[in-house]
Symmetry: C3
Subunit: 395 residues, 3 copies
């Protein structure tokens, strides 16, 4: 039975996820990451077998979306529900960043009977991940002082630095497409900027991808027009990862050249690092005119790179003209969701269902981050879940 084989293999990894928040993949060991992949696979397998992994008889999972979200919102709700938790959304005053006392207090006030907090905070460069850590410190204090009966685990649902539930779902998709994590070794993956008529898209997806995929011996190439840099520290992390894992990492500036012989391509728009820095300053000042001007400048600059579209022509240069196309969705599809965008309509259509499959791992990834935060021996827990054999759909 596949389920038992997966659990057996899971036991081979020494994870240190227990009791820790999941904020950045590069803070986690390779064993941690493998653990996440395996547990998520097991939960998905269980769902197919109608085995309910409901662990909580009651409890809340708090979601705190400081930016819009549909698919991550639903993935979080699905994950919480799968484990028996009810979702309660924290709907803040939107535009202002809350700091200091407010964060400390609110973190405790929402957590008296809560088990997990999922946070999306990706608008402000240098702020999102910091905010999550402030929440974490407040929860640590509340738990230590007897305010909270448990220390709720935090799941990063996208910040300014990383988007770990996305990148881990992407990685699990690759594992399933290529057969195993080992099979990814030596594969070429291109994280490429692509043109979009919108602006201000976060850097967390490309950063998350280059920092994660370099952990497993892949040949990672980051391609973008001059000026569309990511946060330098995270690019350095990717370089180091590649050196350690036996893979490679390079930066280049032509989509077509980068795509040559690629096994996997991830063409996606983002805003340049320095624009996001400027934008964060303006947002924090509440300078609406400044933001409008910046948007104009940025859109005009983007428009110089309309040829950064992934399409049938570019596809032909990839490995067997059939590199696996990836996207976190929604993609800006030329002639579909916009006049000209990140990907042509027919090229997207070739891989559309695969992008749905890719997205479909996210609920299991999030549920895994919850389980591994809370249970020290998750393999053992899952065995007991199988033995208990509660049906998700009863009777």
């Amino acid at each position: 039975m596949k389920l038992y084989r997966l659990i057996e293999e899971l036991k081979g990894f020494k994870s240190e996820l227990y009791g820790k928040d999941f904020l950045l993949t590069w803070e986690k060991s390779v064993d941690d990451l493998n653990t996440v992949l395996y547990v998520a696979s097991i939960l998905k397998e269980m769902r197919g077998l109608n085995i309910s992994p409901r662990i909580f008889d009651s409890g809340l999972a708090i979601s705190n979306f400081r930016d819009k979200s549909t698919r991550t919102r639903f993935s979080f709700a699905s994950a919480a529900n799968l484990l028996g938790l009810a979702v309660q959304e924290l709907d803040e005053e939107k535009s202002q960043i809350s700091h200091g006392e407010t964060v400390r207090e609110t973190a405790n006030m929402i957590s008296f009977l809560s088990d997990f907090i999922g946070i999306r905070d990706d608008m402000f460069l240098g702020e999102g991940n910091k905010y999550m850590r402030q929440v974490g410190e407040a929860l640590d204090e509340g738990f230590a002082k007897g305010v909270l009966p448990v220390r709720p685990g935090i799941v990063n649902l996208q910040c300014d630095m990383d988007h770990p539930t996305q990148s881990m779902a992407d990685l699990l998709h690759l594992v399933n497409e290529f057969g195993s994590i080992e099979a990814l070794r030596g594969k070429k993956i291109v994280m490429s900027w692509a043109y979009s008529p919108s602006y201000g898209k976060p850097l967390s997806v490309p950063q998350g991808i280059i920092a994660l995929m370099t952990r497993f011996g892949m040949n990672v190439e980051l391609a973008y027009p001059e000026g569309y840099d990511l946060i330098p520290e995270i690019v350095d992390i990717a370089k180091n990862n590649a050196a350690q894992s036996g893979g490679s990492f390079r930066v280049s500036h032509s989509m077509v050249e980068a795509m040559r012989d690629a096994d996997i391509v991830y063409p996606k728009s983002w805003a340049p690092f320095h624009i996001m820095q400027e934008r964060t300053k303006l947002l924090m000042k509440g300078d609406k005119n400044g933001l409008k001007e910046l948007e104009q400048v940025c859109l005009a600059n983007n428009a110089k790179f309309k040829d950064w579209e992934y399409n049938e022509q570019v596809r032909t240069v990839t490995k067997n003209a059939d590199a696996l196309y990836m996207h976190c969705l929604p993609a800006d599809i030329s002639g579909e969701s916009c006049a000209q965008g990140e990907v042509s309509k027919n090229t997207f259509e070739r891989y559309r269902i695969k992008t749905y499959l890719e997205a479909g791992y996210k609920p299991y990834i999030i549920a895994t981050m919850m389980l591994t935060n809370r249970f020290e021996d998750v393999g053992d827990l899952l065995l007991r879940v199988i033995e208990r054999n509660t049906k998700r759909v009863a009777l």
Copy 2:
């Protein structure tokens, strides 16, 4: 025990509801409709006996309200909760209709761990029901391609054509008021337009009523001022239904005349078909001035028919001056919620509690649509629920 009798009788119907969305009552057989009535009655009976029909240990029921709703929203939430599902609302960008790629993609993105999707889309003539079918096709594809572990069932929570959860709740109310579905044969029911100071009320309720009540040998009369037509194709369906079921169907243009000797009256405002067509065009163009002008024209036209009020005088012409008054609520009550409206205050008061009872069937109707979509032999399922004997309120 009433419960066992109901289940025994339920077995007499051959329903084909399994695996099908519930979008229009006229796509369902009489056996299907009877099945819904019986299962809903059984669920209501169980509730009285403190037997929990919770079938799902986890799972999501998605609600997608593209128009405001209180009572259907609560009915949907109640139904989902009764079966063990958590509700997750899809809160879209409001004004724009999403088509093509977006619908296809979103339908899958929200469904990875979902069991049902309830949709209200009643603003745009020619669009609402179409949208539900687009969602359905997207789910079919997602399930066929392995994106979705189950094919979520769709429940129509009101579209431009029908409002089946309302009309089926209304029908179940009639069955309970008159004793049986057979007792409705030969009864006269009048679906009448009534004056309202508002405009743009959907056609789905009157359409749903005439198309459903003609299935059971009733004498259905549709009354409205000249010009306040419904969608012609659905009026034709009502005619054909009446012919087949041995009842009758006629259209007339005087409220008082129509009400004469009525056993049941359903006085309710709606907008004329051609106005709704015009309105849909303006809405889709986003023409706010055009919409304002149309509203003025329409309100002025409505005002010519202020005498279309159901009141004590009109009531006296009905059977024994005591026809059963029905309304989907909220009604526009003269001297209560508006200066002049669909029904006089004292006449409404006579039947107020009955309208509450009428509304009270909706949660069970929706739960039934979920169960019959998902389980092939619902009678057998319900027997096992009774045997299991889980208490809704334990201890």
Copy 3:
């Protein structure tokens, strides 16, 4: 085992909470209030022991927040979830007060499968508590007439008169801080007005505190600048309570003088009674200019009393310079959340964690109000919960 001792002691009280809404503490007997304290303590104890008090296999708890709320919203959600209920929010049209028919009808429409309704309605003096009673009467009628299978219990989540979930949580905090309810006898508690740069804060917290704390033989002092009166009838209730319980009640007009030798201090801003009356009139008329003017007048008046700040200097006059500081949170903290406010930063910091502990009782208080409304012999129920021994976190 502490759990059994608490249940044993609980049996000593004769409560009449069964079947009654929890709207005002002064409508409840001392035995009722003790029952609430004990049941809440037992539920908190159970949580620590991982015993799930889930009583409902399904059911809805409706929340109706007619004013903003974060902590009470989360407390209500936590309480409902703890007992097995799903929360469904009633999101009304915001600005208008609904009366008459609408309340009567809506109350029934949301309650077909509901077990409890929590209501916050604190904006309109003379309206909030009245609204809750209207809802209650509508539910009584719906239940009597067979519309509702159960009569949902109402929990007052703050009205114009009282904030019983807050004051009862505050009282339970005091019981835990001082060791027992008996230990509170003779203790001096000061409910003091404090300066805030905002205006229009409800009177329900100070009113709730003076009316509740006078029930247990405490010496209660209410201090405020001349003109900042509370509702006179509730001040009279506090006086009578004190006379009956063997405590005392006095009103004074200097924060520092009042604080002298206090065991407990509760410095918190509120708007004067006559201003709230004026404001209610303007709100109901929708007079925006009038409201703006009133705000200016009120803020200007507040500014005369900036020295009503609880700080290190004032603290020194309290018992052992260490009176227990209480607040319903969020507090207006000088130099933290505002330039000058109710409490100085360093004084608040001394008691910050204690205010979190204080807030942490609220979910258990609300769950208790639900349980005692629904089960006649709660002590017996809790014993059976312990015997059943369902784990909140399974496996």
